[in-house]
């Protein structure tokens, strides 16, 4: 029990006691305390056991650099640092020894905020406050970020400043290009916070950034330097000044620079017995005022003793082996160490600034700052080696009397020692990046704040090189760990990704549809009735289309309006087949290839006027196709006078398919001559349908007599309902995407993305008839590559299992009948109501030539024999479709 609360002082509110529990022990602190300061004030010295060796560990630091004092906060057990968690009444925390318990999934939403500022100041210490005041005085929008809570009231000039935002408890976790600062604001569980307050992830675009980020003190590496009671000197000072807590009763200060002297004096003044200042330097610097405390200059702490906490400190001269055998033993419960300071400039490194070792400052820093960034305050002083920070005489490794290195801790969180670095060197490693990965030093969730530079110092000492030769390892965002839920923000659950719905969506929901995700769209998959299985529903829906009439929501198809004097020429270039000869009022199926000749997308193009086409794309491909067409138009063919406009959401569409579709359409559009002669396959009509202005295409993706009716999307629901009402006596049946897939597969129609995977050509699909020989099109130049004309390419075939009830899973490998090796795969496989059996489509090596022979499918480890047949299994003469 070493720490204690001073009778006076600190920025805590002594009128407001706060009660909390630590590992079930009820303890008291004050408003303004952190868990760490309250634990110290209660004399708790052991806060954890180390991860590998189980050694007792105490609080080392006062900020985000703390390596030891990890705690799990109830409920949920979120892992935090005791130095960062503000004390609130009823707080319950557990120590974390070794591995942390798995925290519960925190379902509390968090939010993202975008903000824009002329100046962002990071750090609200004295220098940060001054910088913020200056920026406010200069006019403009100013943001001040402070990772901890407010150290006190804001100074005059900031309290009510317009265009000034102060964000306490907000850690800048990354700096990205053009001064984009990303910061995490903790709002829950902070004093006075609404429990519903959401944590925020700020994206702040700043014209100028001021880094008032301070500096992190380095420990010294000596034997048994990890005992509870061994703390960073500057942090000991913070606990005194800010929290009114003395970290011990009998102290030794061990330093390699002048900065710790003031801490020694302050401890002494607070009533702590400071036995000695052990200074590695023979001549302490000009700012080293010991205030009467004994200074052992040119000495080092070579070791410590203790059981749970620190008991004594072993002091030897820095040079002179003879005295090592008999060190001076000083009893102490607190050892305040200062091995030097590192400026907190990792935010600079995130965008590529290179930190280099600055011998005059004894740290990794920068000599030039990026444009529109300024460093101020302690960070600037440490970086530049100003004042006390010019007095460092680095000691990277204090030898132990017995020469051992295995209790010289470099990374307390990882329990990694100088001996681990020695092993890395002995294994031949020289690069700090390799040594880091071998030893794990710097890979803890403190990201090596207190260990990174010491690792390099020890490595340099062992390699006999200098730190100038060893760069720091790479610093990455986030600067401190932030919860995944904060990165995700509101984009979880229903909001995870945009959900696109058609105007008819409500009808599908009302009809009990199951939905399928197609791109971002929700498409009706099937409409199982009460007690009906999914498979039975699909069979029923297919049968309705083949025998009666079915309707399907096709609003999701991509639609592109193409207009301009060169529209015909443009469409000729982007599809493989010719469109410039297409008559006004007619449609044609079109295939698009990528420049490498592979199938990219398919759809139809309809000529609405000489200079006006309406293109459809696949549901999932709409955005990519428009981008692709725009790219060609803008970069390759700027001379073409063509404009492309997405009208996907403008139109809602319903397919009416089946032998009775003509009768149903005639009822809906009494003014339209629906006879086969007047309204043939692949033509379009503009007509009022149930009093709705509509564009009616005679088109088919099922192989049946079929129409697709399009209206302005705000009439979509009315259209669907009108069709359903008019066809009630025909038993008009809504069908979903699964039935559509079956119907088109029976007809041998491919689906881009199902039969194709970016390596499939038109010829592979048996669509070589669509490749115009009299015009150029995208992908043409690639088609005569030898690889694309090989006879053994995988080609589309139909596949019929011997067992008509056996459903071969899609993706199954095809193997030569009785032979070895993979010859292809199944791309589509269904049960067919029309065929009365199962069937499949597949891509099979040399498949066209093998029609009529046999192949095996690998199904759950068994070989299933299949007949290889033509891919078109339904109405190969197109009599139903064209009738």
């Amino acid at each position: 029990m070493s720490g204690w609360r001073l009778a006076h002082g600190g920025l805590i509110d002594r009128s407001r006691p706060v009660f909390f529990t630590f590992d079930g022990r009820r303890l008291a602190g004050f408003s303004g305390d952190t868990v760490a300061s309250a634990l110290l004030a209660n004399g708790v010295d052991v806060v954890a056991r180390s991860i590998k060796l189980g050694r007792p560990r105490g609080i080392v630091a006062a900020g985000t650099e703390e390596p030891n004092a990890l705690i799990a906060v109830e409920p949920g057990l979120a892992l935090r640092r005791a130095t960062e968690v503000e004390l609130v009444d009823g707080l319950a925390v557990r120590s974390v020894s070794g591995r942390a318990p798995a925290p519960a999934i925190d379902e509390t939403p968090s939010e993202h905020v975008w903000h824009h500022a002329d100046v962002v100041v990071v750090g609200a210490g004295a220098a940060g406050l001054t910088a913020a005041q200056d920026a406010v005085a200069a006019g403009g929008r100013v943001v001040l970020l402070e990772g901890g809570h407010a150290a006190g009231p804001l100074p005059d000039g900031l309290v009510d400043a317009a265009d000034f935002v102060f964000l306490p408890r907000t850690v800048a976790v990354g700096r990205f290009d053009s001064n984009m600062i990303v910061a995490h604001e903790r709002r829950r569980g902070t004093p006075g916070a609404n429990t519903a307050a959401r944590d925020r992830l700020w994206h702040i675009r700043a014209r100028d950034v001021v880094l008032a980020t301070g500096a992190v003190e380095r420990p010294l590496v000596f034997a048994d330097n990890d005992r509870p009671g061994i703390m960073l000197a500057g942090s000991v000072g913070v606990y005194l000044q800010r929290y009114g807590v003395a970290a011990g009763r009998r102290a030794v200060v061990f330093t390699a620079n002048d900065s710790a002297y003031v801490v020694a004096r302050d401890l002494q003044a607070a009533g702590v017995d400071v036995v000695a200042i052990v200074d590695t330097r023979v001549r302490p610097g000009p700012t080293a005022d010991a205030g009467g405390i004994e200074v052992l200059s040119g000495h080092v702490v070579a070791g410590t003793t203790g059981d749970e906490g620190l008991a004594s400190v072993l002091i030897v001269p820095r040079d002179g082996d003879a005295d090592r055998a008999s060190p001076t033993v000083v009893e102490a419960d607190l050892l305040a160490v200062s091995g030097g300071w590192d400026p907190a400039l990792r935010l600079l490194a995130h965008t590529g600034a290179r930190l280099r070792y600055q011998p005059s400052a004894g740290t990794y820093g920068v000599t030039e700052v990026p444009p529109r960034v300024r460093i101020t305050g302690l960070a600037a002083d440490v970086n530049g080696g100003v004042g006390a920070f010019s007095t460092l005489d680095p000691v990277w490794l204090v030898p132990a009397p017995d020469g051992s290195l295995d209790r010289h801790f470099v990374d307390l969180q990882r329990d990694a020692t100088a001996a681990d670095i020695r092993r890395a060197v002995d294994a031949g490693m020289r690069s700090p990046e390799h040594v880091k990965r071998f030893t794990t030093i710097g890979t803890g969730n403190d990201q090596g704040r207190t260990s990174g530079t010491n690792e390099l110092g020890v490595l340099a000492a062992l390699l006999g090189t200098t730190l100038e030769q060893l760069g720091p390892t790479t610093f990455r965002t986030p600067l401190v760990p932030i919860p995944m839920r904060v990165l995700g923000g509101p984009y979880r659950g229903e909001l995870f990704d945009p959900v696109r719905t058609t105007p008819i969506h409500g009808s599908h929901v009302a009809a009990g549809a199951l939905f399928e995700n197609v791109g971002q769209w929700k498409r009706a998959w099937a409409y199982p009735r009460e007690g009906e299985s999914f498979d039975d529903a699909v069979l029923r829906e297919c049968r309705a289309v083949r025998e009666g009439v079915g309707i399907m929501d096709v609003s999701t198809l991509g639609k592109i309006d193409v207009q301009g004097p060169d529209a015909g020429a443009f469409v000729d270039r982007v599809y493989t087949n010719r469109f410039s000869t297409l008559k006004v009022g007619s449609s044609r199926y079109g295939l698009m290839l990528r420049a490498d000749g592979m199938v990219f997308d398919d759809g139809t193009a309809t000529r609405l006027a000489d200079d006006h086409f309406h293109l459809t794309t696949t549901t999932g491909g709409a955005a990519a196709v428009l981008d692709w067409l725009e790219e060609w138009l803008q970069t390759e063919w700027p001379d073409l006078r063509v404009r492309l406009t997405s009208v996907t959401d403008e139109w809602a569409g319903v397919a009416i398919a089946g032998p009775k579709s003509r009768e149903l359409l005639a009822r809906l559009a009494p003014n339209l001559d629906v006879s086969a002669e007047a309204f043939p396959f692949m033509t379009v009509r503009n007509e009022y349908l149930s009093e709705l202005p509509a564009r009616i295409f005679r088109i088919s993706f099922s192989g049946e007599l079929s129409y697709e009716v399009y209206v302005k999307s705000w009439y979509g629901r009315a259209l669907w309902d009108a069709i359903a009402a008019a066809g009630a006596d025909l038993d008009v049946t809504p069908y979903g995407t699964e039935a559509m897939h079956v119907l088109r597969a029976e007809k041998g129609y491919v689906i881009v993305g199902q039969e194709t995977d970016g390596t499939v050509t038109a010829a592979d699909l048996g669509l070589d008839w669509m490749l115009s020989k009299r015009k150029w099109f995208i992908g043409l130049g690639a088609l005569d590559r030898p690889h694309l004309t090989r006879p053994d390419r995988r080609q589309l075939v139909g596949l019929l299992p011997d067992d008509p009830d056996l459903h071969v899973p899609e993706g199954s490998a095809l193997l030569p009948s009785g032979g070895l090796g993979t010859a292809g795969n199944v791309t589509s496989s269904y049960r067919s109501a029309a065929l009365g059996r199962t069937f499949a489509l597949g891509l099979l090596a040399g498949g066209r030539a093998r029609i009529g022979s046999r192949v095996d499918a690998q199904v759950a480890g068994w070989r299933v024999p299949l007949d290889i047949v033509e891919p078109v299994l339904w109405d190969p003469q197109n009599e139903r479709r064209d009738g």
């Binding site: 975008w114 229903e494 909001l495 105007p503 009208v647 959401d649 979509g716 009315a718």
Partner: protein, 199 residues
């Protein structure tokens, strides 16, 4: 004229509204989100020759801005610059008559095209003292009035949705044009964001 198109009562907006009148779809103490259903919209493409822009503006009775990301305004009729050769003209009242006249009269250079996109997007209005702060929960643009002024517009992201954003009438109110199929998702996001905003 427009009313007649809806005489059958069949039109439903992407957010389920059946009236021309703005309808509040979600609201909090300092902000209201309304849908202006069935706002007429015309996509206009042309090479920005000043003479053509001027003539078009005369015929559409709204100034067609030549400067990027700006809005021409005449009462409730707006012309939004979308791209070097693209504008969106919108009018919550009635654009159809002018468009019919415009296309019938002809006389435009051959590459001038018009596409009716009235049902492609729906118009949301975000108004109230917190409207801008609410947008900042999902939009990376700087919407400070000193930066994004009354005559500014932009194509940007709100939440994860492409939108066209502009100041509706020079006050706190913003116009957000969102594609019909994304409208419900966007409102779900706004509803969630509001919940957090006033938590």
């Amino acid at each position: 004229m427009v009313e007649q198109r809806f005489a059958d009562g069949g039109a439903v907006s992407p957010l389920g509204n059946r009236t021309f009148d703005p309808v509040v779809v979600v609201a909090g103490p300092g902000v209201e989100v309304l849908e202006h259903s069935f706002t007429d919209q015309l996509d206009v493409r042309l090479d920005p020759e000043p003479a053509v822009l001027g003539a078009l503006g005369d015929r559409l009775r709204v100034a067609i801005p030549a400067e990027p990301n700006r809005v021409g305004r005449d009462g409730r009729r707006l012309a939004l610059w979308l791209a070097p050769d693209e504008w969106l003209v919108l009018d919550p009242d009635n654009l159809e008559d002018d468009v019919a006249r415009l296309t019938m009269e002809g006389g435009w250079p051959p590459d001038v095209t018009f596409v009716d996109v009235s049902a492609h997007r729906t118009l949301l209005e975000l108004r109230g003292r917190d409207a801008r702060a609410l947008l900042a929960r999902g939009c990376p643009l700087d919407l400070d009035p000193r930066v994004f002024g009354p005559d500014h517009c932009a194509q940007t992201l709100l939440a994860r949705v492409d939108v066209i954003l502009f100041r509706l009438d020079g006050t706190d109110a913003f116009g957000v044009l969102v594609r019909a199929s994304f409208a419900r998702y966007l409102v779900a996001w706004l509803t969630d964001a509001l919940e957090g905003f006033y938590a």
